[in-house]
Amino acid sequence: MVKFLRRFYLTLIFIFLYAPILVLIVYSFNESKSRGYWGGFTLKWYVELFRDRDIIKALYYTFLIALLSSIISTFIGTFSAIGLHNMGLVPKKIALNINYLPVLNPDIVTGIALMTLFVSVNMRLGFLTMLISHTVFNIPYVILSVLPKLKQMDKNMTEAALDLGATPSYALRKVIIPQIMPGVITGFLIAFTLSIDDFVISFFTTGSGVTNLSILVYSMAKRGVKPSINALTTLMLLTVVILLLLINKRTTKGDELIP
């Protein structure tokens, strides 16, 4: 009995979570634009999706910014984490607290603050400002991922490398980085995900025709939505499910699923 209740409740929640998405998927095949009734099965919205310049451009910028900012932030974040790990107690604490401000602050404050900075120095809002902004909020998450791995690492291992003749930079390359690599990769993935999904910060720090997916959907939702967005939702769902299944297969040790 209890088992049934449990399953029932869980199913309800899952219905709650997926219903809106499933509705969109259904509509993506709907001949009629209206959300009202069913006009027949069609794939035309998918075709229109691939022809829609705005959507394609937004997707392009979304992925480009996400890729670039996650690569840059992983790089800077990893080396900075190593530096921070070796800092004295007090400077480290101060630096870390400042570092986590973009994580703690609501998106809107971070977005506004960055926009204010760019405008104050008369910098044109566009691709570069959006890229910088994404990097700003990505780096703390990379550091958050890498720092614990550094703490876990056996201190003697670095000393052993030096003892065996490695210069500090050789030890960094051949011993420290391989040891913290799982944290680096996780950091990269988190940064990438956050970037793809970001709306608020991008909204305030972009301009001159550079949009990403979130901004596009936002402006459409306010004005009136193109049905090709439904098609996009379906494809996105498919991609996410496949990706997650793949990741799940690779991590057979299982519980690193939680980002």
């Binding site: 959300r35 530096g83 404050v109 204010t116």
Partner: protein
């Protein structure tokens, strides 16, 4: 051997000053001044912006934001805790798949999810269509506060479930067995052992839901039709439509401090509970 590794962090420290500290200081500066921002020499010190916040109209907005955020957080907590509990009791084989499908919505774009909800709740959206089919009158939920709350719950529920689940799954099974060995039935075990041990997860979850909920403007804009103004909307307006950056900055600073204070309170609660905890992620 001197430790020179710390130099690796110095470039980033410069970066942080430029892109984290300075922007916030600028916002603070604007909040404390008035005048034309395009003409720096016209700026003068003023507390006017902060005083404006205490206008009844704006206090109402702040109050509404808190109210809706608290309601959403509570719903997420009471709906989400059982979910976390149930998932943690599922057999290992299925647990991963269930978790995986639970995570899928988060990975989908936040705006698409909100938009999806729009198409269900809007006046001629899916929900009303279904109701019409059954012969029931349409619900005028959207635009409105209820729709906003529903949107918040929908978007943030997984963020409540995940931290709670993480903590629950780390509870040593032996502890539960010890409780039952000592005479506690399942209900008592839950109340006296599981629940207290899961508090760090609850605190995490509350933080991860309340913070975005109180500062959102997207959900309130799309599902509230621009009539349900929350702090986030107010701030957004100052910077886009109204062009009153000073007032907007003041509002931002206030929002920031409200959040930081709430988080300080939360972490005090967590510290008293024990556990030099691992990071929430």
């Amino acid at each position: 051997m001197k430790n020179k590794a710390r130099f690796l962090a110095y470039p980033y420290i410069v970066w942080m000053v430029i892109f984290i500290v300075v922007p916030l200081l600028l916002v603070l500066f604007y909040s404390l001044t008035e005048g034309n921002i395009n003409n720096p020499s016209s700026l003068s010190f003023s507390l006017k912006n902060y005083k404006r916040v205490f206008d009844v109209m704006y206090l109402n907005v702040i109050w509404k934001s808190f109210k809706l955020a608290i309601i959403s957080t509570l719903f997420c907590l009471f709906l989400g805790y059982p979910v976390a509990l149930i998932i943690s009791t599922i057999k290992a084989r299925y647990k991963n798949i269930v978790l995986l499908f639970f995570l899928v919505p988060i990975w989908m774009n936040f705006l698409l999810r909100t938009y999806a909800w729009m198409s269900i709740l809007s006046p001629n959206g899916f929900l009303n269509r279904v109701l019409a089919l059954i012969g029931l009158p349409p619900l005028n939920i959207m635009p409105g506060q209820t729709a906003v709350v529903l949107g918040m719950i929908y978007n943030f529920l997984p963020f409540m479930v995940l931290p709670i689940y993480t903590v629950l799954s780390k509870i040593d099974k032996n502890v539960l067995e010890a409780a039952m060995d000592l005479g506690a039935n399942k209900f008592v075990t839950f109340l006296k052992v599981i629940l207290p041990l899961s508090v760090p997860g609850i605190v995490s979850g509350i933080t991860m839901v309340f913070m975005p909920a109180v500062s959102t403007f997207v959900i309130s804009q799309l599902l509230g039709g621009g009539k349900e103004l929350l702090i986030g909307n107010l701030i957004e307006q100052q910077f886009t439509v109204q062009r009153d950056w000073h007032f907007g900055s003041a509002l931002s600073i206030i929002l920031m401090f409200m959040i930081l204070i709430s988080m300080a309170i939360m972490s005090k609660v967590e510290k008293e509970d024990d556990n030099g905890g691992a990071p929430r992620w």
